[in-house]
Amino acid sequence: MTTQLTSKRYVVEDLSHAIEFCYQQGWTDGLPVVPPTEQAVRAMLDAAGLEPDKEVCFITNRQVAVSAEKIAVNAVMAGCLPEHMPVVVAAVEALADPKWGYHGPAASTGGAAVLMIVNGPIAGRLGFNSGDNLFGPGWRSNATTGRAVRLVMRNVIGTMPGALDRGTVGHPGKYSYVIAENEAESPWTPLHVQRGFKAEQSAVTVLAAEGPHQFYNQLSSTAKGVLTSLCDDMKHHGSTNGQPQYVVVLAGEHMRTIANDGWSKADIQKFVYENTQNPVAHIKRVERLAGTVTPQDETTMRPLVASSEDVLVVAAGGRAGAFSCYIPGWAGGKKSSQSVTKLIQDRRI
């Protein structure tokens, strides 16, 4: 790769000064970054088969072209390995998709983060965690790819906290919010296959999302019992306010219990859709919907989402423990933002 890198260059005394320099320039998410040298940036680009001047996407709302070079610089800073670059590129492409609708979820007081769900062979190859401590620290792939996307949002697209990122409370997923589906142990069709990709392809699904809401059920040995507990929590959670989609993450014990009853992902989606509906009267009484309660409101049911397909089911989390979780999308309805799945491409071929 011979194309010149065009990023402005700074020379500092040594590595430790470089780390502090990045802080001083306002380039970090609050944690130290890996100083982006030309050698590291070129390795990142080479691994993805991208020329530095390749325009990966254009963010219309911000009038910003996102080049491969800038993604690579930020991926280095986030601590990515070169082989992570295609995952980061695919996720950034997803953010630029009109369906994701960059402005709303990136800027909103609603404080959504970018949930990334990695599917396909690349998840295992790069060691993305899909098991214990699913959302916790300890896995480089999960920690750095999401961080790279957030740094691109900050440094390239201008999504600066307090300026064009106005999340009121936000959540820790804004550092990194990446999981993989546990395809090896899942009894179900992987998410990316449900969304039109082949099992042997790798893809990342991106959803503007609140934090994970954990729920517990150690009593039931049936699919219906476990999912009834889920739905009871889910239909009353804090932001039942036009979330376009939800992700339901089912971990080992719950996954096996539900699968043992022969339930497919479609069965789970249908059950969750039907059992998370609230009477309009209830939503009005708890001051989440304007207007006085009418007799009709008592029997008019309001679903959380438009259809059962808007409940994305993912098998992931530790084998032990009667815990799973659901993740609400960012409130704004499907015309504002919805999940997008992009192919993770190896452009070197």
């Binding site: 890198l5 990023s7 402005k8 260059r9 700074y10 020379v11 500092v12 005394e13 040594d14 590595l15 000064h17 470089a18 320099f21 990045c22 320039q25 380039w27 100083p35 982006p36 040298t37 030309e38 940036v41 911000r62 009038q63 910003v64 072209a65 080049s67 800038k70 610089v73 930020n74 800073m77 609708g101 402005h103 709303g104 979820p105 800027a107 909103s108 740094l151 440094n155 390239v156 201008g158 304007a290 704004g332 309805g333 015309k335 504002s336 933002s337």
Partner: protein, 95 residues
Amino acid sequence: MAGFEILDPTVEPRKQPLTYVPRPDSLKGKRIGLIENTKFNSDNLLVRIGEILKNEYGVAECKMWRKHNSSVPAHEEIIEEARRGVDCIVAGIGD
């Protein structure tokens, strides 16, 4: 000196000229478009603004449109109708 060279991760947004339509000298007899952003009470706020524009500034008529959602720009139908039917627009976040 030997030094340690690093690359800048930021970009400058693409610069584009912003052209403002000339402001009217007076609102008297003008047709006003009100863009409602779907947030709770934004319609009530704009209705009130419309009343003030009529009663105190001599506006001839007001027409309100509702966006798909507060976080997206006014959709094309609104823009087209507004282009044909009004002289000025009031838009903003009702929140």
